[in-house]
Amino acid sequence: MNDSPTHADNLDLLWVYLQQEPLLWLTATLAAYAFGHWLHRAAGSSPLVNSIAVAIALLVAVLVLSGTSYATYFEGAQFVHFLLGPATVLLAVPLYRNFNRVRRLLVPMLAALLVGSVTAVVSAVVVAAALGASTETLFSLAPKSATTPIAMGIAEEIGGLPSLTAALVIITGIIGAMAVTPLLNTLRVTDWAARGFAVGVASHGIGAARAFQVNQLAGTFAGIAMALNALLTAVLVPLLVGWL
């Protein structure tokens, strides 16, 4: 009896310490991803077991059950999030290695980019509008194929909810990463450059991450597609929304 209050106090203090320091949620982020990666491998590297989706589901469950806010979580996770910038710069390495091939395929790339970018915006908005989504949701949805920071900026500009856009961008990425292999096999698109470029336009960096797991050249083209589509979407969405 005299032991338990101090024990409970200690646990309280421990929890306060862990909540204040970034260590806990940084560790949890890496652990959840490591588990997702392990599960992906255990499932025979099936694209249907997506390591990001597993990690997110696990972390959301832990945060909700422990009553932890996203802001507290992000204090720790921001160190991982920050690496997105340097990792984007790093795309120059495969780009340099494959530069001749990229230059040779410039025309097919630009043609596919234009068609793909318009399709991504228009089809999402048309389907959601037809099924009765609210205007705010439509505006948040329109830039969903662009990479997170750009998509959030576009959503803000046109009157969507940037943080909802961030969530929709991630889901779009996961859908693309899961579907790309079976879809393009069915369509008999056998070229790595075309496959990588397609998943990069539709599913930005998460698509590129999947492409790098499969093939270096596909990853390179997915990275280029992500960068180009981010730029084009930033121009297209405000124009198209003006029409709607």
Binding site: L59, Y70, P108, L161, I170
Partner: protein
């Protein structure tokens, strides 16, 4: 390794400063990518430490999207209320975009005789 990491950060930093100074709506890291590409072109090779960093980071790029993805917990109510239009729009649009992009790329490439038959999956 330190030099490779320093080079990445410098490229990103210069990129961020340039886009803000010029007021152009391009993300700083994308300009950083172009800067690093120019640097590699000037060196005419990828230094070994940079190769090592690229190999390690690009094979686990997925990890870096997890913190932003957890932000989905902020929108549970709206997603629950509008899940049918949202899920339908995301599924249809993502699959259609991938199919159309791949087919246009593949079609133009073959019309221009740029196809490399030995590079098939």
């Amino acid at each position: 390794m330190v030099h490779a990491i320093l080079a990445l950060l410098v490229c990103q930093l210069v990129g961020e400063v340039l886009v803000r100074a010029a007021g152009i709506p391009i993300p700083g890291p994308v300009v950083g990518t172009l800067l690093l590409l120019l640097a590699l072109a000037a060196l005419r090779e990828v230094p070994d430490p940079m190769n090592a960093v690229a190999g390690a980071v690009l094979s686990h790029l997925s990890l870096l999207f997890v913190p932003a993805g957890v932000g989905i917990m902020l929108h549970v109510a709206r997603i629950r209320a509008e899940w049918v239009p949202l899920l339908a729009a995301l599924l249809v649009s993502t699959l259609l975009t991938m199919a159309v992009t791949a087919l246009v790329f593949f079609w133009v490439m073959r019309r221009m005789n740029l196809h490399e038959p030995e590079r098939q999956p």
